[in-house]
Amino acid sequence: MSEILAYSFMQRALLAAVLVGLLCSTLSFFVVLKKLSFLGAGISHTALGGIAIGLVTGIDPILTGSIFAVGTAMSTGYISRIGRIGEDTVIGIYYATGMALGIALISSFKGYYPELFALLFGNILSVTAKDLIFMALVLVLVLFFVVLFFRELLAICFDEEMAIAGGLPVTFIYMGLLASMGLTIMVSIQLVGVVLVAALVVIPGAIANRLSKNYRIMLFMSLIVGLGGSIGGLFISYFFPVPPGAAIVLILAFLFALAMVIKPLIENLCGYRKN
């Protein structure tokens, strides 16, 4: 263990895994409860358009990608509410359009973009100190928002109509959740890439929801799974020739399969049967 952490790039990667693991698993709790899984995939793929703009213009692609990701998330929520269009329809349109924009820009401006491969498939080992500061900043912002509005977020996820009738600022809080998702996904893209990032904001919450009927336990389990998956994947990739992003997602997928099998076993052992 000490041998692995002797490398400064591994220290940075471990810190990134912890930050992103915490971020994704916190958001994953709400993504699963509010059924926003497809939005996660949509934001990440749309962000490719923003990343491409950054690459061809020389602006930091993480910055342009973040603007795209947050813009996509918030406008999806806005259009689906105001325009009476299903959220999945809006995401489906953004998803393909963002990818198309990315492909068109990268193909048109021929050049060598070494960052592109890392952003598509993730490269946690190349995380810089600047990236870590950005991740930490996003974590603080997201946690601040979640802690501040936790009860309201829970009420909106459970029964939005009732929350509206109760006079809660539902649109403001929901937009805050979507903006948090956009930022979280963009930060996590550095870890696992555009293609795999949706798994990070879906699987921890899905596992926890499968195993718990108490939201406090569900949130705690989501955090443990998210952290465990991120750190575990990093270490596996050190010992085996597997990219860290793929290793993280495969660990999470394995844990999900395990949760699917374990739950009925636990219920059988406890003699529990739902009516």
Partner: protein, 254 residues
């Protein structure tokens, strides 16, 4: 008895389509009003208008002494129970957690309520669900879930309770139990209750007055009067066999 709701020729336009036209009725405290009508009659829109969630095209609506332009201000004095489909059934909340969501309002943002536990316990007690407080909501039967949702609607001690199809999906004994519970709350709390339902027979047995709408006003008054009126057939555009609670010869065209 105090007048809690007064609707005077109110009309509502949604998406260019008139969904309510010249609806007039009033509700007093301690009175249970059943709003009946076929699918798409505008029953839910009428409830939403009382919550200030829908803008009126014409007419006057006064709720708890406040006119339609300021209805947002009285939401904290109104209990609302949306249709059963509105909430997520496999949600990891206990019965007490569900009731706690009813305490949230703009006034509670960023604030803790010191007496919330007592209020939750009291609301659950009033619907005979106190012993279920810590059980997962998703493990409760449909009838038990309905009573917990009712506790959520009354946890803020409202003066007016609006219920949207609370009996849908419940078997007959659960429906009866629920209606008996509403009747008890109405008397004990002097609560004005407005209940939207498809089930004319069930509502008529417990309501003090019925309001029958199908976009426009068809008839309102005491249940016996409404049930015997030919206007009921007009509203549903079919003949009603009230003994079976179903459409009679000719069927319904909606």
């Amino acid at each position: 008895m105090e007048k809690i709701v007064n609707a005077d020729k109110l009309s509502v336009l949604l998406g260019g389509k008139r969904v309510l036209e010249e609806i007039s009725f009033s509700t007093l405290s301690g009175q249970l009003t059943g709003i009946i009508g076929p699918n798409g009659a505008g029953k839910t829109t009428l409830l939403k208008a009382m919550l200030g969630l829908v803008k009126l095209e014409t007419g006057e609506l006064t709720v708890l002494g406040v006119s339609n332009s300021s209805l947002k201000d009285v939401r904290s004095r109104i209990g609302y129970m949306p249709q059963l489909q509105s909430f997520e059934k496999r949600f990891p909340l206990s019965a007490a957690d569900v009731v706690a969501t009813g305490l949230l309002s703009p006034k509670t943002l960023l604030r803790r309520q010191p007496d919330s536990k007592d209020r939750i316990r009291e609301a659950l007690r009033s619907v005979s669900m106190e012993s279920f407080a810590q059980l997962p909501f998703q493990d409760l039967s449909g009838g038990e879930q309905q009573r917990v949702l009712l506790a959520r609607s009354i946890v803020r001690k409202p003066e007016l309770l609006l219920l949207d199809e609370p009996n849908s999906g419940l078997d007959f004994p659960s429906q009866r139990l629920f209606m008996e519970l509403l009747t008890r709350l109405k008397i004990e709390e002097n609560l004005a209750i407005i209940l939207v339902s498809h089930d004319i027979v069930s509502v008529a047995s417990f309501a003090d007055q019925l309001v029958c709408i199908n976009r426009s006003m068809h008839i309102h008054g005491q249940p016996a009067h409404v049930l015997q009126s030919t206007h009921l057939d007009e509203a549903y555009r079919c003949q009603f066999d009230l003994l079976s609670g179903s459409a009679g010869k000719g069927g319904c065209d909606n």
